[in-house]
């Protein structure tokens, strides 16, 4: 429909490396996030394969103990901070402005900055493999094992890497919060926001309010490791439990940061392919918000075995159980959305329906862990590993792939192949169940997590072998996706504006892929499902005026420069003070230039 003709004065080129390095376009930044995150996802997958290969048979000697510890630590860090979170960010970047009817995010250059800082932090974290070994104290890095007495330089990379990634997430979250609150199209009231946008704003606030707590914990660890403080050193008056509390005050909201984008995605996919409105919109929104609020009151359920005492155990047990109520509401409403529909089973829908079932399994085992005495048997066993993967793979990753298949035509103008897509779905679905379901049995049979070896004769052999086979099936599924991606990208862009022919939300009102300014005319919103309302009320979109005079922010390389400065700041802490000083100078210079740079 719309072309960008007459829109843009020739400000630099629109192709080539330089255009990507200096872009402030939310869609391009979303693409950068997405591609980077998928690459990190595959790296994290390789780490997982290494771990699973070692555990396939008892007393295996594929990788040695120290390496194994680095692999499972980095697997978690990579998947959480470098894959699932940025995949969420990729969708936020692409679809927040499109779904609320805006031309860009509130702060386009900050948006670019958050990506470049993320990339720097991610590379820094991964580079630890080359410089003296990766972090090896587990992703929650319990003191004192993560302290200078017991852990090598990998943990310094952990601290600096997470601080850098936290900065990136904070900037992005602030940006999205302001964008959603302030940049909505006329008529787009808060209670008309798509559920995906509601989940985005909940995630944004969770990050905004939880990251500072992690920052404080990381700073304390940094000081303990490098400046001889004793925050977590018991013999000198400190307390290792403080780290656990601060970490999980961040860590539990973080779990919702990982899962809520996926909830948002399937809340878009299910109604569209069922061809009926989301059942109980208000309930789903309030359930999401109350999960976000209650999420602050449950962190100690990660610490039931640390000797909390009777009263805290009861309090945190009760609050954790309470969270099951809004979660249940969501699941039942999704099911009710399918009920009475005319469901078209595209690959996106396959993934979305599987999320309902798989997340339910993860949710039920989650409630089991709220039952403290049961948790003391399951904590730190493979039962927990099964639980968290049903939530993060069955919930988050399957939901994200649902979103990829659903929005791919909008992002690229091309459909991903449905045949290969369904192949990937079944490989993922079967593979993940083969991998993670037996882990319940392993946990019940008493297999602790994070062990690099085990003896024969404990009843763990068969299920470990099954889990390892399953993990390779997932890997094959991922190859199917990569193949599908490249195959589709070689085809011409033919997708219509409303690629599936039944889109409800504003992103389907513009071309596929959208022009740089998103909408020729900002659409007006009259209802929760604006396009269905327009269809039913015979409202046709406003024709594009003959002469568009839309100023989009010009490209800028200062975000890249400033991110370089931030990276040097971090590298300096790991190496030499002079590098830090140079980083500060670069940040100050780029900040000054940033402010003076014309934006019109």
């Amino acid at each position: 429909m719309a072309t960008a003709a007459g829109t843009m004065p020739a400000v630099g080129s629109h192709t080539g490396l330089w255009s990507w390095l200096t872009t402030v376009d939310h869609k391009r930044i979303g693409t950068l996030y997405g591609v980077t995150a998928v690459l990190f996802f595959m790296l994290g997958g390789l780490e997982a394969l290494a771990v699973r290969t070692q555990l396939a048979v008892p007393n295996a000697t594929v990788i040695e103990a120290g390496r194994f510890n680095q692999f499972f630590t980095m697997h978690a860090l990579t998947m959480i901070f470098l894959a699932v979170m940025p995949l969420g960010a990729a969708f936020f970047n692409w679809f927040v402005p499109l779904m609320i009817g805006a031309r860009d995010v509130a702060f386009p250059r900050l948006n670019a900055l958050s990506y470049w800082v993320f990339l720097g932090g991610g590379l820094l974290l991964v580079s630890s493999f080359i410089f003296g070994g990766a972090p090896d104290a587990g992703w929650f890095a319990y003191a004192p094992l993560s302290g200078k007495t017991y852990a090598g330089s990998g943990m310094d990379f952990y601290v600096i890497g997470l601080l850098t990634l936290g900065l990136s997430s904070l900037i992005a979250a602030l940006n999205f919060a302001v964008t959603i609150i302030n940049m909505r199209a006329p008529g787009m009231t808060m209670m008309r926001l798509p559920v995906f946008i509601w989940m985005t704003i909940v995630v944004a606030f969770l990050l905004i309010l939880s990251l500072p707590v992690l920052t404080v914990a990381l700073v304390q660890m940094l000081f303990d490791r490098n400046f001889e403080t004793n925050f977590f050193v018991a013999t000198n008056g400190g307390d290792p439990i403080l780290w656990q509390h601060l970490f999980w005050v961040f860590g539990h909201p973080e779990v919702y940061v990982l899962i809520l984008p996926s909830f948002g995605i399937i809340s878009e996919v299910l109604p569209v392919f069922s061809r009926k409105p989301l059942f109980g919109y208000t309930a789903i929104v309030f359930a999401g918000v109350s999960i976000g609020v209650l999420g602050w009151a449950v962190w100690s359920h990660h610490m039931f075995t640390t000797g909390l005492g009777t009263v805290p155990q009861i309090v945190f047990s009760a609050s954790t159980m309470a969270i099951a109520v809004p979660t249940g509401v969501k699941i039942f409403n999704w099911l009710a959305t399918m009920y009475g529909g005319n469901i078209r089973f595209t690959t996106a829908m396959y993934f979305a329906v599987s999320v309902i079932v798989l997340f339910t399994i993860g949710g039920i085992t989650g409630v089991m862990h709220a039952v403290v005495p049961v948790d003391t048997q399951q904590q730190d066993t493979y039962f927990i590993v099964a639980h968290l993967h049903y939530v993060l793979f069955g919930g988050a990753i399957m939901g994200i792939f649902s979103g990829i298949y659903y929005w791919f035509p909008k992002m690229t103008g091309r459909f991903l192949g449905e045949g290969l897509g369904k192949l990937q779905f079944w490989l993922f679905f079967i593979g993940m169940n083969l991998t993670f379901f037996p882990m319940h049995f392993l946990g019940v049979s008493g297999m602790p997590r994070r062990i690099y070896t085990y003896d024969a004769g404990l009843g763990w052999e068969m299920w470990n072998m099954v889990a390892t086979i399953g993990s390779y099936i997932i890997a094959v599924g991922m190859l199917a996706f990569v193949w599908n991606f490249f195959k589709s990208m070689r085809k011409p862009a033919t997708a219509a504006d409303d690629a599936w022919g039944m889109g409800a939300t504003l992103e389907w009102a513009t071309s596929s892929p959208p022009p740089e300014h998103d909408f020729d005319v900002i659409p007006a919103v009259h209802d929760r499902d604006p396009l269905w309302y327009n269809r039913d009320h015979g409202i046709t979109p406003e024709p594009a005026p003959a002469h568009l005079h839309i100023h989009m922010p010009p490209p800028s390389y200062y975000p890249l420069v400033m991110a370089g400065g931030v990276l040097m700041l971090g590298v300096g802490v790991l190496s030499h003070l002079a590098v830090t000083a140079l980083g500060v100078v670069i940040i100050l210079y780029s900040a000054w230039a940033w402010i003076l740079e014309p934006t019109d």
């Binding site: 602030l174 302030n182 905004i208 914990a217 400046f227 403080t229 925050f231 989009m552």
Partner: protein
């Protein structure tokens, strides 16, 4: 400083300027940051195994003076904002200048205090009081330092030919929000660390 977005800067769904909204949400985030640092201080209160202990070393009259200085800088800041918003650039410049001076004076007090504590044998690694105190007040001091840099930039910028441009009011107001926040954090720190008896 916040980046200015494209042409729709002056339009918003709520009627709030994007930058101001950003700053307020950021300040909510900062509440959690300082809340965690203060929690660590209170958790380890009385947990020091060796001296110097806080009651032996805290100089309340001195810190009261520096607290007063920071409080007055909030007053001068709000006057600078008034000047900026009422198109009185001279008033704005004067009070920005005063605010920067008061901010620097506060930092001077803090440097003096840190050095004095160092001479009495208290540093980061001495005991839990040292670790929590220096990290908490050190991060607060860093915030003051960043504030001084921001306000100085505004002051320098206001001497350019175009001044701070047509949006001077917003720029100074948003910077002021940050500055006042740093002040209210100190109100809490001063009460909890210095005034409440050990």
């Amino acid at each position: 400083m916040a980046a200015a977005a494209h042409g729709t800067v002056h339009h918003s769904s709520t009627g709030i300027d994007n930058r101001k909204l950003l700053m307020w949400i950021f300040l909510a985030s900062e509440c959690l940051f300082f809340g965690s640092l203060i929690s660590a201080y209170l958790i380890f209160k009385g947990a020091s195994l060796v001296g110097p202990y806080p009651e032996e070393i805290l100089d309340i009259p001195l810190t009261s003076t520096s607290t007063f200085v920071l409080l007055m800088s909030s007053l001068s800041m709000v006057l600078a904002v008034y000047g900026a918003e009422h198109a009185r650039p001279r008033m704005m410049k004067l009070w920005l200048f005063v605010t920067v001076l008061l901010g620097l004076a506060f930092l001077g007090f803090q440097v003096y205090e840190f050095r004095a504590f160092g001479q009495e044998g208290l540093n980061l690694s001495t005991n839990q009081f040292g670790a929590t105190f220096f990290v908490l007040t050190g991060f607060h001091g860093t915030h003051v330092g960043v504030g001084v840099v921001i306000l100085s930039s505004l002051l320098f910028g206001s001497f350019r030919r175009s001044g701070l441009g047509s949006e001077a009011g917003f720029h100074v107001e948003v910077a002021g929000l940050y500055w006042h926040f740093v002040d209210i954090v100190w109100i809490v720190i001063f009460t909890l660390i210095y005034l409440i008896p050990q």
